[in-house]
Amino acid sequence: MFTFRGVDFLDMDSMLSDQEKLVRQTVREFVEREVIPHIEHWNREGQFPRHLIEPMAALGLFGANLADYGCAGMSNVEYGLILQELERGDSGLRSFVSVESSLVMYPIREYGSEEQKEKWLPALQQGRAVGCFGLTEPDFGSNPSAMRTRATREGDHFVLNGEKAWITNGTMADIALIWARADDGIRGFLVERGTPGFSARDIKGKMSLRASVTSFLSLQDARLPASAMLPGARGLKAPLACLTQARYGIGWGAIGAAMACYNDALEYAKVRKQFNDKPIASHQLVQERFADMITEISKAQLLALHVGRLKDRGSADPAQISMLKRNNVKMALDVARSARDILGANGVADEYPVFRHMCNLESVFTYEGTHNIHTLILGERVTGIPAYGS
């Protein structure tokens, strides 16, 4: 084993502040010590490392880029670096932090009542509570506007009925943010664990994100007080704004997975000998792979850092974040596949992390706006013509 020191062909570090580098370093050390030695086991067993919630909270990773309520108030670039390092460990771990931060804490912070913020943000930040985000349904993934989950008003209450699918953290969650169609459009509801009529069960047999909990949620006449609704979120643009936050982080996280695969393949290629007792790293076809990988990783880093700086200035456009997510996840998947190829047969065994990353990235490619949906977002942005239903 070698110590992970990042991948920095273009001297990107010269564009980072000392503080940004320190943030990256602390998460890198955490992942190196607490995740890397065990992750293949957790992945094989299909186990999320729950015991890491507390130390991650102590580090300040949940809601790191939010202000107040105990959150660290880091910049978006720093938040990106955190997710990059987490995903260098495993996409499942990064997904956990993404969901907590961008899909649960962010909407409560942005759209919640003061009471909801006081109740949930410190608990989520400190890891005393876990959240999940229920938007996707069994029949509606890319087209959430057609969702079937309904919230019917009955006096001081709402009654929720519907099904949600592919929900990260679902069965672990103390609080589920459920998006449902109400009389005045799509609204968000904070559904607490134990609410009668609300249940969750895990999706079994996943070949990807195995060290992460993915669940179905079911709501059957789940009665909630009206105060469970997020007062500030009205219409689909609220959950989409959450997704923009999460997609931003995924754009950084994917770099971490790509770095892990690239590094592993490079170390392997330097020692694996084939033909005339020469390391395969000396073979021209293998070198072409590395030239492509390092170029694509470097471009992805430039894109992430630039969009991060724009976001910190408050001027990042959701379409730019779509470009970041689309490009970087595809890049990471390509790098993972190349790395797998370089490792030959060893690439399919979990003695090496590459196959795990590659399988994880298949999910990342699909979730938080599929690759194709981001293609259409970019297509619409440059042509002015939406092509979603065509």
Partner: protein, 259 residues
């Protein structure tokens, strides 16, 4: 208890090292730097003593501009303030001159206890801590595995050779050099990293420390650094398996000295 921790920024472990043009050191422009490993344990021990006994932790380093990052990391982990001995005259100091400069800064800070790693991972001299103690005229001990605070004194466990340990009592003020692995160093938290921005980081040159140029004159010089030449020596052992095993064990023990 006021504790000073002296730490050093060194080339990152397992980095790819290349020699500089005159083969007197490694090329620093293509390595990354980190806090010397034993110093991280010294810092952690200081933070734990402070949490138990109260007081202040002051971190101190001597080094170029980049070494400030090591101090910021220490502040982010919980040190209260930092002193950076930074001066063009501080380039290429040997352990003696480094200890001179550190001693001047330590006298100014007036701690009850100085902790430092037992040696630096780069040059491996293991000298700076003990020379510093001698210059201060303080009690000192090396290769410390455990510290227990007492009234105006410390109980400390030293590592001896051959798996032996020794408990000693040491009066304060004192200098202890810390062995790696004696505790579990903490991570800098995000809040700690933010808090570090507002903590004092003082920069001192040779004039502020009241040193003269004579004091900084190196007494020791690295004349040559080289990569150990690879030798392709192969020796065949012959005999019965028992004889071979015995001779192999003997060679590993007495020639290669690896067991």
């Amino acid at each position: 208890m006021k504790i000073a921790v002296c730490l050093k920024q060194v080339p990152a472990r397992d980095g790819v090292l290349r020699l500089n043009a005159d083969s007197t050191w490694v090329r620093e422009d293509d390595v990354s730097f980190e806090i010397n490993e034993p110093d991280i344990y010294a810092l952690e021990e200081a933070l734990r003593l402070k949490e138990k006994e109260g007081g202040e932790v002051v971190v101190c380093t001597l080094g170029p501009e980049r070494a400030a990052q090591a101090l910021k990391e220490a502040l982010a982990k919980g040190a209260d303030r930092a002193i950076h001995l930074h001066d063009p005259a501080f380039q290429n100091l040997d352990a003696y001159a480094t200890a001179r400069a550190l001693a001047a800064a330590i006298r100014q800070a007036a701690p009850d206890l100085v902790l430092t790693g037992l040696q630096a991972d780069d040059d491996g001299f293991a000298q700076t801590g003990v020379i510093l103690a001698e210059m201060l005229g303080w009690a000192h001990s090396t290769i410390i595995m455990e510290i227990q605070a007492q009234e105006r004194a410390l109980k400390a466990k030293r590592e001896l050779e051959g798996g032996w340990f020794q408990w000693i009592e040491i009066p304060l003020p004192a200098v202890l050099t810390i062995q790696s692995g004696i505790n579990k160093p903490r991570y800098a938290t995000l809040k700690g990293i933010l808090a570090a921005k507002t903590k004092p980081l003082q920069r001192l040159g040779w004039k502020e420390l009241g040193l003269d140029e004579e004091a900084l004159k190196p007494r020791q010089k690295i004349t040559k650094v080289f990569v150990p030449p690879k030798s392709g020596k192969v020796e065949w052992l012959e005999g019965t398996p028992r004889e071979i095993a015995q001779r192999l064990a003997d060679k590993l023990k007495n020639e290669a000295r690896v067991i």
